[in-house]
């Protein structure tokens, strides 16, 4: 089987993001599932986690979004609102969310292309995608923590959880998985 893949973007970091203490630029982007526009004012009072990622369906992003999706109950413990952002169209986001069962609203920075990524200083002008970056914004709209990962590296979620713990003063509690599959019944044995 031939695997088709476009050439990857240049590795490393091109745009360094915004430092903590900066007022968070507004979003105003349409989001999955229904295209409703999300602004920071909508989520005023709650910590916000922004996950900038280069593109729907790309291998590293798929892993990264899958991980954060799994952690939604954990991030919910801190009252955090979580959004994924890339320069893909809303239709691409919808297909990506459906494929991976992603519950995180995905914001589309598609038109005007890359405008919000530019405001957060994570846009790559040469290829028209955003960096792989994480932001934790406090309830007053100020950036509390930020991290730009080398684009080829999935940053994981430990930095975000550490930041939310410091921001809220709460310790992360134990996650409770909901068993999705029924355990076998004794009579089912053959």
């Amino acid at each position: 089987m031939v695997t088709l893949a476009p050439p990857p973007p240049a590795s490393g970091i091109r745009s360094p993001g915004l430092p903590p203490g900066t007022r968070a630029p507004d979003l105003g982007l349409p989001a999955t599932p229904d295209g409703r526009r999300i602004t920071l004012a909508d989520v005023n009072g709650s910590p916000v986690v922004l996950i900038f990622y280069p593109g729907d369906f790309t291998p590293v992003c798929t892993n990264e979004l899958g991980l954060f999706n799994e952690l939604m109950p954990v991030l919910g413990q801190f009252g955090a609102k979580v959004f994924g952002i890339s320069c893909d169209s809303l239709w691409s986001h919808i297909a990506f969310a459906k494929e991976l069962h992603i519950q995180i609203p995905l914001l589309s920075d598609f038109h005007p292309k890359g405008e919000v990524s530019r405001r957060y200083n994570v846009h790559r002008e040469d290829v028209g995608i955003c960096e792989r970056a994480l932001y934790v914004i406090d309830g007053k709209g100020v950036i509390y923590w930020s991290y730009v990962s080398p684009i080829e590296l999935n940053p994981g979620a430990d930095g975000v959880i550490d930041a939310l713990e410091r921001l809220t003063g709460k310790q992360m509690e134990f996650l409770t998985f909901q068993p999705q599959q029924q355990p076998p019944q004794p009579e089912a044995r053959t």
Partner: protein, 200 residues
């Protein structure tokens, strides 16, 4: 560089000597196809490095993506309670397409487990807290997807072919590890995961 928050201890499933100069720890998901591929690569690696590497497995089920992964992890633990963790680990990776509850019972029976005990362990979710603890500790240690490997406690960010893992091990372990023999070619000496074993 992300580091393990908890060192390997007696609660972990480990294969190989405790005083091996290198510990290769995997956070894995039994339904993840990349972990299935990695399991085969680890077999190749194991046959080349022998006793010089200790292999450890911790659970990282991505339940939103893999609806069978959690019960499969519990099944591995239930087999482990009867001394057959690695046997079940291999069985699950060889049968990733079929991890429904009845299939898990078949694998347990094939391994000669006490079926009453195995079934009861799954029904009571006896090992669920351990699986969840593995997952959460993994997240806090910077596990960013499956599989994620740690070599002597440091996250390995490269590829997970046997060749790449061997190169990373040799680099990390430095003078503490003797030069290793070559890796077997694919299909040579070690059974290929998910395929019938070729004739020896």
């Amino acid at each position: 560089m992300s580091r393990l928050r908890r060192d390997v201890d007696a609660n972990d499933w480990a294969k190989g000597p405790a005083d091996a100069p290198v510990t290769l720890l995997e956070y894995g998901d039994f339904e993840c196809p990349f972990c299935g591929r990695a399991a085969w690569e680890l077999k190749r690696l194991e046959s080349a490095v022998g006793e010089r590497v200790r292999f450890v497995f911790r659970h990282f089920p991505l339940t939103q993506l893999h609806p069978h992964a959690l019960l499969a992890a519990e099944a591995a633990e239930a087999a482990g309670a009867q001394g057959k963790f690695w046997e079940m680990h291999d069985m699950l990776f060889q049968n990733q397409q079929n991890l429904e509850a009845p299939a898990l019972l078949t694998y347990a029976a094939d391994l000669g487990l006490d079926m009453g005990r195995f079934t009861r362990d799954l029904q009571e979710h006896r090992s669920l807290p351990k699986v969840q603890r593995d997952f959460i500790e993994g997240v806090r240690s910077g596990v960013n997807g499956t599989p994620t490997f740690f070599i002597n406690g440091e996250r390995h960010n490269g590829a997970y072919t046997a060749e790449a893992l061997l190169a990373a091990i040799e680099q990390r372990a430095g003078p503490h590890i003797e030069p290793m023999t070559g890796l077997p070619w694919e299909g040579d000496r070690v059974p290929r995961m998910g395929r019938p074993q070729s004739r020896m």
